[in-house]
């Protein structure tokens, strides 16, 4: 899942902002448990996406706890659209190849 993690993170942030733990929860839930990540690998990725201008972040406080919340930027949103389209094209092509009887 490593190579596709940026796309997956952008996708789970598309609806609403979230902090790191919630992003992992969403990934787990939406993949029905298929993506079990080493949780610490998420944070360098979030920082990288922020450096690239695809995410923005700010500190928030909920139930007395301080968290860093990430949200998609405009650029992140258009990157998500492009990468989703590219992924679907790729998946469709693979499906076509696999559909040919051996």
């Amino acid at each position: 899942v490593d190579g596709h993690l940026p796309l997956l993170v952008l996708a789970v942030l598309a609806d609403e902002p979230a902090h790191g733990y919630a992003i992992l929860e969403r990934l787990r839930r939406r993949s029905e448990g298929a993506f079990e990540l080493q949780e610490g690998t998420l944070y360098p990725l979030l920082h990288r996406l922020e450096d690239d201008g695809l995410l923005a972040s700010r500190w928030t406080t909920a139930t007395g706890r301080r968290r860093r919340e990430y949200r998609l930027t405009q650029r992140g949103r258009s990157t998500l659209r492009e990468r989703t389209r590219a992924w679907r094209d790729f998946a469709t092509a693979v499906e076509r190849v696999l559909a040919v009887p051996a």
Binding site: Y21, E39, H47
Partner: protein
Amino acid sequence: MNPIDDYLAQLAPLLPPRGRRRILAEVEAHLHEAAAEQGEAEAVARFGAARDVAAGFVACAADRSGRRLLVVAASLVAAQVLLLIAPVVPHHWRQAPVAPYTRLLPVDVYLYVTDAHRWLAFAAAAGLACGAVAALRRARLRRAAVAVLGVLTATLGAYVAAGWVAVGRFPFAHESDVLLALALAAPVVLHLAARGRTMPRLLVPLATGVGLVGLIGLALPGILVRLVDLSYADTSAFGTAVRVAQQAWLVGAAAALGWSVRDASRRQPA
């Protein structure tokens, strides 16, 4: 010490200094949230080894400083190219006014001092671009850094060749100009030969070496000379403006040089 504090104490010294506090706060918040459901020991285990997590942040920081170096290197190249096409602009740009003390120096040293400014930005830009090549993990940005080196090499080569054609000898009699041009050409040729595939393995030690030689051997003495060189004879408004611009430029180059050396000496995680 509980498992979370223990983990944070392990992680802290492995992180890049810039942004360390934010990273630790984020990790701590995550671990406490996870611990509420799974217990502290399990939360720490699921987070991953401190060394692996830190490696991700170090790589991220290296990319960030590589990008900064690339921007500074590109600006230095632009500034130096402007200086090299200076025959069409006033005399001051072609030969910077020098401090009176330099006239007391032996003639060879005097010639070096009066001419050194011509190559200061080249050497600094070379070092910075090489530092950027060494720091950047992304192929596209690394190609941009190599392109900066390519522009440097081509301009320097054209300048030396033009002097050769016009005068029949290397115009400024500095073998170091030719050596610098060859040294800069090497990473570019390697990059082209490797077509980007094996470039990092081939280029990183070479680029770092060239950068450090360029910076320490050529730029640093030149920068020191220019920073000391505060008492110019020319007090006209234009002369003063040139002087101020030069000093600001060189102070910036010296600061960037510090970054470059730091980044070049920092090991990349595997």
